[in-house]
Structures are given as structure tokens and as C-alpha cells.
Symmetry: C2
Subunit: 484 residues, 2 copies
């Protein structure tokens, strides 16, 4: 492992950072044991029976942070508590870092599909298998243990560190925004760091600097007041199933471009630097298609797959329903039919404008022979962190220090509505430093985290406050180099 920028102490002994590194290197076994302890708490946030366990997980986090020297408390919400902590101001001035993570986990799902019980962590082949190992307990814990390590060697954190650890991420962070609004002064920060994403592949760490937004719609088309006999009434009234198909088909053209008027108007174009970066990333088309079981790549004409997945807005049917859905034949004109259709939007598309333009396009396509209802089930903006900011560069250097390899910068097609929310309320950008593998069975049976990545994550988290403190003083122009 090559460590960057480590200075020897004046007296020839190990520097503070070396001491912290030595400390974490010496406590690998203990860290594993504590990870297992954390993973054994079945803090499933959807489970109404699990309220005691989610609370226990929150207390576990609070106690760890308290023992690490931060002022830590539980902020209760209508559902699961948020842990807020603060290391207090450091000696010098420098940026403030807010660590975000979540202690709740997805439900285990079908137990039969797990090789070992989801809440009895087991190490196999260098991986720890348990619900929450990757999402997010294992990744979150790296940051908490790093804070503790600084404390253990008796050193002050080089920057002020705050924590915001919620218990409702898997149920849409329903109570987070009010908490952030209410505690916006306490949570004031320059950067937010979170580890709840993935590496590029087994060997390549990654910083995710952009996520797409989401506008999710449910369309219902109503025709006759009851299902009609298709023989007796066919040819006399509008069929909501046919009209629904017409509407959905009208939303995209043969080039897979969305036809909603104005849809692309605000789309930020892909910068030459980004194009270059993306083109440089390895992409094995055959392996990709094989892993998805799809016969071919399909998407908006004129863009590469990576550009379409990360930088271009998309529109997809998520579900279709209506009429007779059972086995065999039922000869009806259905009274209604519905579709769930969602759009992933990108900077600088505005969720509200897109939502309205969608509704107008749907109503126009529906015509006047049916009644249409449109529900908006989600509307969240895209997020993008400037990768030449000191924070993004500090994160990259910390990862290089922790993993021994510089990260790639990637974007993500998924949506994290909390990021634009943080940006709006706290004015801070988010650094997504992913330590899990892309195929870590997130939300599925046999979720895992590679143990070496867990330890590299702890080292990364040890370096992060230091890199932030150091970079803050460097001239900005020297920073861009790492960001390739």
C-alpha cells in the first residue's frame, strides 16, 4: 500500500496519521467483531415489529460516536430516530465534514434463498455475508471506526466532523428532510461524505459524482363504467386498454427519444472532459448483455450506452395492468387500464416542469373519449457534484490512500433524493465514496461486503478529514489532476 502525503513528525517518531494507521491495522479482528455485532441487529425499517431493533441500532451508533469523543444524540422522528453528532470545532480552521449514512436495512426477503441466516453474519471466502453488510452498515461503520481511531491515539480530528445517520433510508427517508431543516444550523457543513454506493469493479474504487432524478407517474385510463362484453360492445366504445397502449407508445419515437414537448430543453450537455472520462472506462458489451439476459443494447440514438445510462434522461414503463390478467381468455372491454411510467431526469431538468409536460402530453394523447387520471408518485431532482472541488479531490486522495489505487469518477442512473435536498438546505455538495462491489446482492439474498474493502474503507475514512484539511490550503488549480 502506497500512502500519499504522509509527513514525518518533527522528532522522527511516527506522525499522527501514521499512528492512526497503525492503530486501525492492529484492530482488524476487533473491527470485524464489531461489524458482526452491528449486523446482528435486525434493524429492518419497513417492519412494524422491528421498532425496538431499529432503535437499538440507532443507540449502538450513538454510543459508538459518543465513545469516539463526539457529542452524539438521538433525534426522534414519527418513525425511526436520526443520530446527530458533532466533534466540535478543531484547533485550526478548515472545512466541516458531515458524514451521512443509514443504520436501517432492507427486509431479508425469502430466508430459503440465503446461504447463511441474514442476521447471523458469516465470513466466507474473504466476504462477510449478512443483510446490511454492504447497504449500509458495513460501509457506514468504516467512517465511525475511523473517527474512533483518531480518538484512540489521542489525536484531534484535523477538521470538524458531524454525523447524520438515519434509520429510514430504505423507506424513502420520509422523516429526514424535516430533521435537516430543523437542525440546519447544527448540521452546517462544507461537504457531505457518504459511503452507500459501489466500486467500479473488484479492483477499482469509484467516486460517484452524479445521480439522476426521478419523476414517477401512474396513469389510469377509464372508459365504460364496467367491463363490457367485447362481442356485444366491440366497435362502439373506446377501449381503455387500447388507448393506454396508444398513450404509452406516443411518449417515445423510433429513435428511443422522448417525444414530450420540451423534454430535452434543459438537459445539460456532456462536457468533453466527461465524454473522454467515460470513454476511457472499461465496458464489455457482451458481458454486460449476458449479465442482463438481454439480446441487444437499446437506447436513445446518438449516444453511447454509458452516456445514456448516466447523462441522458430516460422514460420507462415500470408496470402495466388492467382488464383480465388471469389465465385463459376473458372477452371483455376493460372498464379501465393503468400504467406506471417513470422518467429518470438529469441536470438541469426540473422535476416540476417535466412532471407537468408529461401530464399534458398524456392528456393530449388520450383524447376525449376516455377519462384520464395521472398520479405523481415521485418527483426528485438529479444531483451532480463538481469533481474539481477541493472536497471531491480530498475524497479521491483519501481513497487512493485507503485502497492503494486512485478512484475513477462515475455517475449513476439511480436517484438519491437526499442529495439535492442536502444541497438545497445545507448548501453542501456530497461525496459518494463507494466501498461495496457492484454485484454485492444489495436488497437481495446473500448480500455481502468484501472484508478487504471494509478495511480499506476504514483507512480511507481515516485519511478523509486529513486530506480535507490539507487540500483546503492548496491552490485550486493543482487539484484537478486526480479527477480522471
Amino acid at each position: 500500500m502506497r500512502l500519499l502525503g504522509i509527513k514525518t513528525s518533527r522528532n522522527g517518531g511516527p506522525t499522527v496519521i501514521e499512528q492512526v494507521e497503525q492503530y486501525v491495522a492492529a484492530h482488524r479482528e476487533e473491527y470485524l467483531a464489531r461489524l458482526m455485532e452491528f449486523l446482528r441487529i435486525p434493524s429492518v425499517s419497513t417492519d412494524p415489529e422491528g421498532v425496538r431493533d431499529t432503535h437499538r441500532a440507532a443507540e449502538w451508533v450513538r454510543d459508538l460516536l459518543g465513545a469516539a469523543g463526539l457529542e452524539a444524540e438521538l433525534v426522534e422522528t414519527p418513525k425511526h430516530p436520526v443520530v446527530i453528532a458533532d466533534s466540535g470545532p478543531p484547533a485550526g480552521d478548515g472545512p466541516t465534514l458531515l458524514l451521512y449514512g443509514h443504520y436501517d436495512v432492507q427486509p431479508a426477503g425469502e430466508l430459503d434463498l440465503w446461504s447463511s441466516p441474514p442476521f447471523e453474519p458469516e465470513v466466507r471466502d474473504g466476504r462477510i455475508y449478512a443483510r446490511g453488510s454492504a447497504d449500509d452498515k458495513g460501509q457506514l461503520l468504516t467512517h465511525l471506526l475511523a473517527l474512533e481511531a483518531w480518538r484512540k491515539v489521542g489525536a484531534d480530528l484535523p477538521v470538524r466532523v458531524k454525523c447524520l445517520i438515519e434509520g429510514e433510508e430504505e423507506i424513502g427517508s420520509v422523516n429526514l428532510e424535516p430533521v435537516v431543516r430543523e437542525h440546519r444550523q447544527r448540521l452546517a457543513c462544507d461537504y457531505i461524505a457518504l459511503s452507500d454506493t459501489a466500486k467500479l469493479d473488484d479492483d477499482t474504487p469509484a467516486i460517484t459524482y452524479g445521480t439522476k432524478g426521478l419523476v414517477y407517474k401512474e396513469i389510469r385510463v377509464y372508459g365504460p363504467s364496467a367491463d363490457l362484453h367485447s362481442g356485444s360492445f366491440g366497435g362502439s366504445v373506446s377501449n381503455p386498454g387500447n388507448v393506454l397502449a396508444d398513450i404509452v407508445a406516443s411518449l417515445k419515437d423510433g429513435d428511443q427519444r422522448v417525444t414530450i414537448p420540451g423534454f430535452y430543453d434543459a438537459v445539460r450537455s456532456i462536457s468533453p472532459a466527461e465524454r473522454e472520462q467515460m470513454a476511457a472506462l472499461p465496458f464489455d458489451e457482451r458481458a454486460y448483455l449476458k449479465s442482463l439476459g438481454s439480446p441487444s443494447l437499446v437506447g436513445e440514438a446518438g449516444f453511447s450506452v454509458q452516456q445514456r445510462r448516466w447523462c441522458r434522461p430516460t422514460l420507462d414503463v415500470n408496470g402495466l395492468f388492467g382488464g383480465y390478467m388471469g389465465a385463459g381468455a376473458a372477452t371483455i372491454i376493460p372498464a379501465w387500464a393503468g400504467a406506471k411510467v417513470s422518467m429518470r431526469i438529469v441536470p438541469d431538468q426540473d422535476p416540476k416542469s417535466i412532471s407537468q409536460a408529461f401530464d399534458e402530453a398524456v392528456r393530449r394523447a388520450a383524447g376525449s373519449d376516455v377519462r384520464v387520471e395521472i398520479d405523481t408518485l415521485a418527483a426528485a431532482g438529479a444531483y451532480m457534484c463538481p469533481i474539481d472541488s477541493p472536497g471531491a479531490q480530498a475524497a479521491a486522495r483519501a481513497i487512493e490512500a485507503g485502497f492503494g489505487k486512485a478512484p475513477v469518477f462515475v455517475r449513476e442512473g439511480g436517484t438519491l433524493p437526499i442529495l439535492p435536498m442536502f444541497k438545497e438546505i445545507l448548501g453542501a455538495d456530497s461525496l459518494m465514496m463507494g466501498f461495496a462491489l457492484p454485484n454485492c446482492n444489495l436488497h437481495s439474498p446473500d448480500e455481502f461486503l468484501v472484508l478487504e474493502d471494509f478495511h480499506a474503507g476504514i483507512r480511507t475514512a481515516v485519511h478523509l478529514p486529513r486530506m480535507l484539511a490539507e487540500l483546503q490550503t492548496e491552490p485550486k488549480s493543482a487539484v484537478g489532476d486526480t479527477a480522471r
Copy 2:
């Protein structure tokens, strides 16, 4: 009631037909009691528990026909028996009539929705309410009681009458065709009469002379091997939900015309006489739309509603399904999506050619980025009885004798696959003499038959063999007049 063509007997006493009429008039109460007895048998053909009841209903029919002087037997099938009966050759020669009907009934459905229990018939406001009252026990029984009445007065039937009464009509007549094929000699006939359709309205009896055919398809579009995250993978693979909508939308144009190549090639044009006939039928557009709860009439451009419902082929979505169909949002690209789509076809469209043309059009619209499976769930031809045939004229006269009003001739958008099957195997045309009301709650709670229509049906059935015998001897040119 005005009776046509009744001749006085030579000796001045009542003619035979007068005797039969007097007999049925004198037995109204007994007939109602026997209808109730028949309706009390819960002969639900779908119900695996109901095998004893369906058998009991078949035996009840056989015994009635036996007592009426016909040679009657049960022909067993893999499921429910068919009753076959024969009156034997009459004294003179004349046409042979085959009576078709079914003793099985639809399931009762939700019992709470019935005003009185479905298998405990109750008379309210001159209607008898019970499952099977209209479909088809009540209508069938009119013919059986008429045969009995001829026997009771000691008269020979004026034509040979055979019966074919099945117990699987409500489950697609699955075992009927093999029985008809095997017994084609025994069932040989000139006309088939059945009462399983409806009057035009409360006051107007109707003969249905045409039914549409049906080609029913299930399309399944397969994309990725599992549901994919719409954020991570949107824009890179084909979405089966979108493709399904494209396919379905492509099957019809803005004029509601089916776009499948060759679809209309064999469609028989509507004759001027039919046009005139249909235009003369009462049609209240407002009342029609109100009863359906539909905002507007929609159908193939260039044709009237009645023309579209009866004479023009249609294409309708019967069901849509795939992806996430529950409440709220799930951001997936579904692995597959499906639709049930059916076409009602008309003379002289061939179900096989239409089926094949549909499949080709669907595959063409689907393209090569998805895998498509198409199942044919039904393929049956249309049927049309020449309304100037002696049989159709005899049926019209019998109805006029029974109801005191000449029937209108109508077509029907529904499908009766047994009719083209009878035509093919037995070479005989079918006379559909409907005694039920159009709003008789067929297949729904509170199914009913108007008692006066039941009795008028018995009178009609009494006259039918006589009219057939008489008309057979009239010159054909004189026949057409009733058919308006």
C-alpha cells in the same frame, strides 16, 4: 294474440294445433313449478364439486324427453353428459329439426349480490329470478315442454324432432364437437333451433341470424432475464412494457381501423337489405352511452354503430399486465409484459388466416430487441344463417304465433363457435330464437326471465315444428316477406 295459418279441423272441433295451444294455456302453473324444479339443480359446469348436480340436471332433461315420447339417452363425455333424443320419423316427410340447448349454468358468483338465493328461484314482478333462468334452462325448457304438449294431446309431431342438450356450454362446449362427429348420423337434420339469445327489447322478439367469430391472443414480450433497476439500466436495454405498448398501438390506426395487412380482405360487405333493416331498428344513442357509462361512441370510421357491432370486425385489448402492478412506485424495467388482445371476425374472414396475419404483424412491430411469444387462446369462425331460408321463415312465424308480434332479424357481436361447427359437421343452419331480455343479468347476480316470455316461448316452440312442416311445402319466393 293473433295466430297465423291455423286451419279449422274438418269436423268443426279444435284443430290439433288448437288443442296443443289449449293444453299449454291450461298448464301455466305446472310449467312454472317445473321450471323452478329445474332451476333448483345447481348444475354449475365449472365446479368440480358439482358433477353430481350436472348429472342430475342431464337426467332430468332426459326423463322429461323420454316421457314426451322421444327416445332419449345420456351420452357420457370426459366431463358432463350430453342428452341426445329423437322423436322418430313422422308419418309424412318433411324437414328434421334439431333442438340445441344447455342444462349447465354459470357459477353464482358473490352470493351477497343476489336479492334471493341463486338456486332458490323466486318470482318477483312477473319475473323469475335464479341462476340459469335465462341462460339457458328457462329458454331450453320452453322447447322441451312444447314437445311434451304435443304428446299430451295425443298428436304426432308434424316434423321429426331431435335434441342435443349439453352440459358444458359455460365452459366452452369442450366435449361437444367429438359427440356431434361421432353421432352425426343420428343427429342429421335440416335445421337447428336454439333459444339462448335475447329479444331486441321488452316488446320485440328477435331472431339472431349472425354471430361474429373470435380470434383471441395472448402476447408476451420478454426482455432482460430479470426485472432491472430502471435507474442503473434505463437507456441501455429494450423495455418489454414499452415494446408491448408499441405493438398494441400499431394494430389500429387513428380511424379505428385494424392495420394488420389483409385483415379486411375477406370481409363480406353489408347488403343493401341489411343496411336498411339495421337502420330501421330503434337506437337511442344517449340511452346506450348512459347505460355503458361511456362518454362517446367510438369505432371504425365510415360505419354506423350497429354496423360496427354486428357486421364489422373489431380488435380489442382484453387485458394488460407486467412489471410492478401493486400500490406505489417500483422503479423497474420489467423482465416481461403481456397483453390479451382479441379480434371479433365476420363472414367470410378465416380464423386461421387472421390468426397468422396477426402473429406476423405483432412480430414485425416487436422488432428484434425482445423475444415474443404469442398464444392463440381461441379461434372460431363467424356464423350467418340465410334469413330467406324456409327454416328462418318458419322460426319467424312461430315467434309471431307465440308472441303475437313478428320478430326483428338481428346479428350479434358475440361468438357461438358451435354454430359454424354444426354447419360444418351436420350441414344445417341454426335458428336463434331468443326469449330473454337483453338486460337479463346473464352471468351476473339476479339473472331473470320474464314469465310471460317463458310462456310465449312455449307457445312459439309449440308452433315451430308445425310452421316448418307447412313452409316446406310453400314456394320459396313467397317466404321472404316476414324477414324485415
